[in-house]
Symmetry: C2
Subunit: 458 residues, 2 copies
Amino acid sequence: MSQPVEAFIDANRDRFLEELFALLRIPSISTLPEHVPDVAQAAGFVAEALKGAGVENVEIIPTARHPLVYGEWLHAPGKPTVLCYGHYDVQPPDPLEEWVTPPFEPAVRDGNIYARGSADDKGQMYMHIKAVEALRAASGTLPVNVKFLIEGEEEVGGASIAKFVGENAARLKADVGLVSDTSLYAEGIPTLCTGLRGLIYTEVDARGPAKDLHSGLYGGAAPNAVYALIELLAKAKSADGAIQVTGIYDDVTPPAPAEKSSWESLPFREEEFLKREVGASRLTGEPGYSVLERIWARPTLEVHGIAGGFTGAGAKTVIPAKATAKVSIRLVPRQDPDKVAGAFQEFVKANTPAGVQTEVRVLSASPAVLVDPGHPAIRTAAEAFQQVMGRPTVYIRSGGSVPIVGDFNRHLGIPTVMMGLGLPDDGLHSPNEKFRLENFYTGIKAIALFFERYGQTS
Amino acid sequence: MSQPVEAFIDANRDRFLEELFALLRIPSISTLPEHVPDVAQAAGFVAEALKGAGVENVEIIPTARHPLVYGEWLHAPGKPTVLCYGHYDVQPPDPLEEWVTPPFEPAVRDGNIYARGSADDKGQMYMHIKAVEALRAASGTLPVNVKFLIEGEEEVGGASIAKFVGENAARLKADVGLVSDTSLYAEGIPTLCTGLRGLIYTEVDARGPAKDLHSGLYGGAAPNAVYALIELLAKAKSADGAIQVTGIYDDVTPPAPAEKSSWESLPFREEEFLKREVGASRLTGEPGYSVLERIWARPTLEVHGIAGGFTGAGAKTVIPAKATAKVSIRLVPRQDPDKVAGAFQEFVKANTPAGVQTEVRVLSASPAVLVDPGHPAIRTAAEAFQQVMGRPTVYIRSGGSVPIVGDFNRHLGIPTVMMGLGLPDDGLHSPNEKFRLENFYTGIKAIALFFERYGQTS
């Protein structure tokens, strides 16, 4: 990028980091009701940061749940408009005891920022703001028009932003979206994500006896809600991980040959993935598919948590009356979330053991998305990324879902540049989540250069 | 019984109840470490109650966990000795929100005492003490010799009392045991229990990835500890409830024809059992066996609780690293607890899904027992029970386990009179546990008469 911009970024490294730390200290856990005030505080922090960067018409927009933060700078007539997205909410930090330093007391160790939200997504969202600040500070203007839309519900399904985007297409009109909520394929490899899995997230409840019963007096005759849920969920996947929900694979299409061969060319070491990232004795999943295919291009079903009966210390001999589980299905392109959610509800109904009632609540449903690497914005971003990092940009998919990318595509008709600076072992949603410190600055530079280059394309 | 004894019991109804309420107010939950002081307080209360009844050499005996309370009255030379057992510890009260009145604030409603431990076993244990008090108050002496051994670990496996009985056979020498920790077959039907199931209680842990992982980034390749435990436990029973642990049914023998036909003669209404007691849409269990056979004479496997992953409000997309379940197997006569525990551990090992480690911890293991209805003490108890309640005594089994009965049989070589005044719908181990108020007094009288009659048999 232009020398003054780079100089400004380098000169302000410490201040940028202090600001980010202040944001990371706010426990804006969107799924826990007791943290509603923290989420609101984080929204206020983001609004002030946008103003500080010279973004105009900054507004905190109330929603049915957590507020959106909007801002814009539109003084580059004839230049393209970039719609920058990020989220300031985070996942719960539990299990707390496994954090080396507290989740909301950011600390730098071995070149990493450790904190909940450091990579997902506060640290990455903040790169956009600092890139804009640097460009304006160095040149007094911006090479492109920018709009910011930052949410606080990404970790809980993003219902409010989806509704807002659907109802405000004109206000949000842009040429491309920019999201930094994904990862580099590996340290040092500039990476753009061109595909994301969708997600349906559900709660499954089971009810057996009217109340917990003594297993000595009723064991052998009374239905057990916990065991019924176990029997039911065990039928959801075959031993090798194939999902047993009827029709689940009907709309699944394999990746394009070119895409598949590019994945095969990536420096993927299964041993390392198993040992350094997963940390289990072996991997699992559908036979006949590579690991990358399984996590990028295949639907998967997971039970995220289960609870029921007595789980305190020691022994209690009850037949539990109630049990509940959190179950999600990841979706690949062309799968319809509502269709899959319906099929899962049918599956639960059909496989509920006798004597037990079950209910499925769908908490969220978002489709998978693909973007075209040939789009000028994607191409330009790839070139800028390559120049800043000094090697060719690779295109990958992510098994995760960023619902907003689908919303931008559906409601605004625009593709999204997914330029993420995370790393595969950042531990998103896990204890000791981290964000590589140097990638924070690299991201600010790459985004600034992308804006400069993209401004020159028209 | 003799008129003065009955008169004393009738004259002291209110005082007996107030004393019981004071005991029920002590939250002596033996499985929860934070209640250790309450358990100790309950032991002290029982010791004082024994002294108040005229029992001598009362002693609170420390153990590795919760204390035993011992006492004796041995001034009836040539008369038989009855070893009275009970327990002053209780199960945890959760789920708390389902109690109509608080579990440790005893309340009388529609002729029932509602409180945790009212029936299991404080209320019933207290009947023994009041029967002795009444006999001595009315006649200045006792028709039999009595020893009391009351524990505080019954709900957590009773390891200490088992050890104590094994090591103190001479001190505990008696002709028969007396336990009131079972139920009448139905309201108004004097009932002696002649068979109990045994129990092995275990915790099963599963470990998958080194830490919780993001299901988007790893779903399809990383093992899921919660799902692995679900897959494993689902294999433990067939759809119709038959246990799949190898050899589990090898030593199971059917009840004697006479026993079986007496069960068939009992006024059992499956519809009523289902609606009034179980409260589910239908019963479950092995086909080809009656409900009473299934709960009295067949081994059963239950999952009492399961926990793992994220179970808070809302959505968290983790692949859990850990999961745990509480699993027990009820045993019938001739099954060896250690053999069954070993077979279950083998089962878990053999069925642990790839990529996951499992561990089974056996928290307790006790065998089933049968007693001979022809024994003089049992016969005498049946006659006394019949006279007090005004109809013939029936003999049943219980699916629950009272480990001490096995210990008395094994170490002291004596049978036990299981004269319980509970009712099938007392809700042992459940919210709103109750004990029929009138049965409390009926029990005191039946036990007093049993002592008088039993003293005359020699």
